[in-house]
Symmetry: C2
């Protein structure tokens, strides 16, 4: 693995493909952190396995497991899914596995962004995050891909979406947060995204999902379903704080123009009714430092937008909510050639994310 | 990775190729154990890097590094050598990386033997050895090879050599040692080797190298250089305990017949003068449990037989001894199509082995 420091993907003719372009495979990380996942990850592991199996039907899945969980991961996952040992601080492949870029001859390279647990010492979610931050490079080494070093720039994979045709979508609440790159202006951040993702237009949604601990990752509120087309997490409940947040995003998107000069087709994807964590669930979580990891009644950032587009399926969350079915039907219409697999992911949601957050595609 | 328990390589048409057959690559493990390697492995790592670089000239080399040494391994090794994170108890790829077998259509599978640190609680060299024992399976998973589970049978890769044509060579001192499989008879051990390596003749040398802590691995005293041809570690000094040991092996080999009915051509490979560990070197080693790892004056099991046959080279030890040159010239004659690379490996020898012990080939 060559570590590339003096050139950029844009300069080298590499671009980040959209998630709906073909994948070589998918990376996941096996959960075990006891202040993120109930009962030492016991319940979350079952949900992760379901996600891995669903994706594994049409992609090569590699699951990274810490030394203590390697044997268990191997026992729980089917034989065609690869398990490799890798230490981490938690299990968010989307956020700190590499962002992959590709050139016209099919060469794949990774980008190693800096990771500081969604806000570092300012408003990050745990400490330390050193092993998470090593993962992108370790994965590129494992996969024998050269890697661009941008550890000086803090970015999570869940905070960016691209359409594969020159447009990137982010949120202001996240990318301009004080805990990431406070020394950089919006223009300087745009410049880095342009050079590393090889895009020409950055769309800046104002917000993500209410109470999303990532400072509002775009991947929980809005995603491209095709070039020029997005789904937006939506509620009709004007009393809900989320309404104003989704409405502000809608207003922004309705006036936006993408890199090809297109207006966007915006599909509203309903949100489930507000999901809160129970006292029992909080009781299954270790303390995070000297604070409780969650408090009973705390609202979780549940959203159907947090799906993963696999080669032949879309693997999406379910919450046991009446909107589960409507959301599934909307995605089926938007992805007519893919099977929609809905997995009940409350045990992932309690950890602070969902299916998109725990997966990272490797383009083909 | 499929774990195979109900069939054997012999039954499935797989055999262990000889080391001089073509390789896909080589596995090594980065040293860090402070009671094996001086100064926390500082000196040994430099020697390991030299070995990896030499092999890397004609093979894909994968180096496994523990989490604490990953970044350092990546920094010390050239970009074309792959570094993957893997936890272990020490760094002996020969002994607990998989033994690979191959069928006629080129499919490769691994064998996961049991490992108990060369003798377990009876006369093993450290405790615990759990992470070493996991490595074969982890490596098969990483390399996407199915694996035969024989963890119930204790065997190290350094205790077997095959000619690729049905003959296996071992030592009685090791395979019949009380710390490995004391419940099995010699005939039962032969049966397992026949079924797993797919050989028909087992040659049982009586001894290995004097004071070799492995109970005398064959790979330190005798090795096939071609079908029907071996090198044997040899001294002319009849006062040396090693003389009787090498002579007993010579006597055995002179009457032996291999699987193809051939008498063996035996090439004596001189040993260096006895190598002993110095007080300074002992001072660089942590204690092993509550005992010193080595004591000044302790004899080390130095032997030129402990070389690795790479695709286009033979990477062999040097000890700064007058015999270095003679041994190199003998190997050059025996491997006329390969470059002989001699590396000064005292810092590996102090750890208890040499180049063959720290490498494991993956057949092509």
């Amino acid at each position: 693995m060559r570590i590339i420091r003096n050139t950029t993907p844009f300069g080298d003719g590499f671009r980040m493909p959209a998630e709906y372009e073909p994948h070589e495979g998918c990376i996941m990380i096996f959960p075990e952190r006891a202040d993120s996942w109930q009962y030492g990850g016991y319940a979350a592991r079952k949900a992760f396995v379901q996600v891995a199996e669903a994706i594994g039907e049409s992609e090569r899945v590699t699951v990274c497991a810490g030394a203590a969980q390697y044997d268990n991961a191997r026992a729980m996952l089917p034989a065609h899914i690869r398990v490799v040992e890798m230490s981490g601080n938690d299990a968010w492949a989307r956020d700190y596995a590499p962002t992959f870029v590709k050139n016209d001859t099919g060469v794949i390279r990774g980008i190693d962004w800096g990771f500081n647990a969604w806000g570092g010492l300012y408003d990050g979610l745990y400490f330390p995050w050193d092993k998470d931050n090593q993962m992108a490079r370790k994965l590129c080494d494992l996969l024998e891909k050269d890697v661009y070093d941008r550890r000086d720039f803090i970015l999570e994979g869940g905070s960016i979406h691209v359409d594969g045709e020159g447009t990137c979508m982010v949120t202001e609440s996240c990318l301009l947060s004080r805990g990431r790159n406070p020394e950089l202006s919006k223009q300087e951040i745009e410049e880095i995204l342009r050079n590393y993702l090889n895009v020409s237009v950055i769309l800046w949604l104002p917000w993500g999902i209410y109470n999303d601990e990532t400072n509002g990752h775009v991947d929980n509120i809005c995603a491209f379903t095709a070039p020029g087309e997005v789904v937006l997490a939506w509620t009709e409940d004007k009393e809900d704080t989320q309404y104003a947040m989704s409405k502000a995003c809608l207003d922004y998107l309705e006036q936006a123009v993408d890199a090809r000069g297109r207006r966007l087709r915006i599909h509203k994807l309903p949100l489930p009714k507000p999901v809160t964590v129970t006292k029992e669930e909080c009781g299954g979580l270790d303390a995070c430092g000297d604070q409780p990891a969650r408090v009973p009644g705390e609202r979780l950032a549940a959203s159907y937008v947090n799906y993963y587009i696999a080669n032949k399926s879309v693997v999406m969350p379910g919450f046991g909510d009446p909107a589960d079915r409507e959301a599934r039907e909307i995605l089926q219409k938007l992805f007519p050639d893919r099977k929609i697999v809905q997995i009940y992911t409350r045990d992932i949601l309690i950890g602070g994310g969902n299916i998109h957050c725990i997966t990272q595609q490797i383009p083909l």
